[in-house]
């Protein structure tokens, strides 16, 4: 942000961390990279029964440049991998990645010629959600974990060099 290069780890930057992280973690703009059946559960988290808006993350942006959390929802195959990488590269820092369901996390049961065995082979991942598909509660749990992770970050961190 500029200031921190002058002040380093001081009272000013730690207070700044708290304010900035508070803002970041309660206003995630997500990019839904939805490729398969997990998308159904992802949609249900948005609907009123589970209501992800309670966590300030209800607003999906379909432009990676406006998003700060990438939700990779479903199976990613080798053909699609360059697209995923490109979407990730277009997102501005700070950015986080959630791997949604076993397919995105490890390839799931698709251990074959076509499927990437986990999206962490392509991009760095912050939170993994197990399940095929995960229940909506698991997604909210992951979101809370991501908020906790964000609140531990510092404006001095440069995440992925």
């Amino acid at each position: 942000m500029g200031l921190e290069t002058v002040f380093g780890h001081s009272f000013l930057t730690t207070r700044l961390d708290e304010a900035v992280n508070w803002g970041r973690k309660y206003s995630f703009f997500q990019y839904p990279f939805v490729t398969a059946c997990c998308g159904m559960e992802y949609m249900s988290v948005f609907a009123s029964a589970y209501d992800i808006a309670r966590f300030g993350a209800e607003y999906p942006r379909f432009s990676p440049r406006q998003a700060d959390v990438l939700f990779v929802v479903g199976t990613v195959n080798e053909k699609l991998a360059p697209v995923l990488k490109r979407v990730y590269d277009q997102m501005c820092e700070p950015k986080w990645v959630v791997s949604f369901g076993v397919c995105a996390t490890s390839g799931g049961f698709y251990d074959n010629y076509a499927t990437v065995q986990g999206i962490d082979k392509i991009i760095p991942v912050d939170i993994y959600i197990p399940g095929c598909p995960p229940r909506p509660e698991a997604i909210l749990d992951a979101l809370i974990k991501l908020q906790e992770k964000v609140s531990r970050e510092s404006v001095l961190d440069r995440k992925y060099k």
């Binding site: 080798e78 053909k79 010629y113 076509a114 990437v116 962490d120 082979k121 392509i122 760095p124």
Partner: protein
């Protein structure tokens, strides 16, 4: 029990039909691949099979002929279905294309080419349809290595 479709077919192509069976109303004709095009034209023009429902292949390695081309036809006028199968040798994996009869065969044949490497002669645009450019081999062949991956971009770590 005599079966109208199978009997008609056998009477029409006595030298080309290798075998027929009808399991619970599933009529199947196994045919020499050289006769595929004329048999399909007969089905379409004379028996009223107006719909090519599916065209795919199977690999029976190590049997030779290893491939089998499988076509499913449907007649919406008579509500008949018929399955045609043609054994295709691995050393000469070529069959006549059905695109001249059913335009819809185009993508089916591209898929069979992509997955099994069967060449369709007379196809207007025989390219891969599912796998990407630069992919080598035909992944549904039984001798394609199970764990072989062909990433398009380098993987991390």
């Amino acid at each position: 029990m005599t079966n109208y479709l199978l009997e008609t077919f056998k009477a029409k192509f006595p030298d080309d039909v290798l075998d027929t069976h009808a399991f619970r109303g599933d009529e199947t004709v196994i045919l020499k691949k050289e006769a595929l095009l004329k048999a399909a034209a007969f089905l379409k023009d004379e028996l009223g099979f107006d719909f090519l429902m599916d065209l795919t292949a199977a690999d029976y390695l190590p049997r030779e002929p290893r491939f089998e081309l499988v076509c499913h036809f449907y007649s919406s006028k008579n509500n008949y279905r018929l399955r045609l199968k043609c054994p295709v040798a691995g050393t000469d994996a070529r069959v006549a294309s059905l695109t001249s009869l059913w335009t819809g065969a185009n993508w089916f044949e591209r898929e069979a080419y992509d997955m099994y490497g069967i060449k369709f002669e007379g196809h207007p645009d025989l390219r891969r349809i599912l796998m990407y450019d630069g992919f080598e081999g035909h992944p549904l062949r039984k001798d394609y290595p199970l764990k072989k991956r062909q990433p398009r971009i380098p993987h991390r770590e």
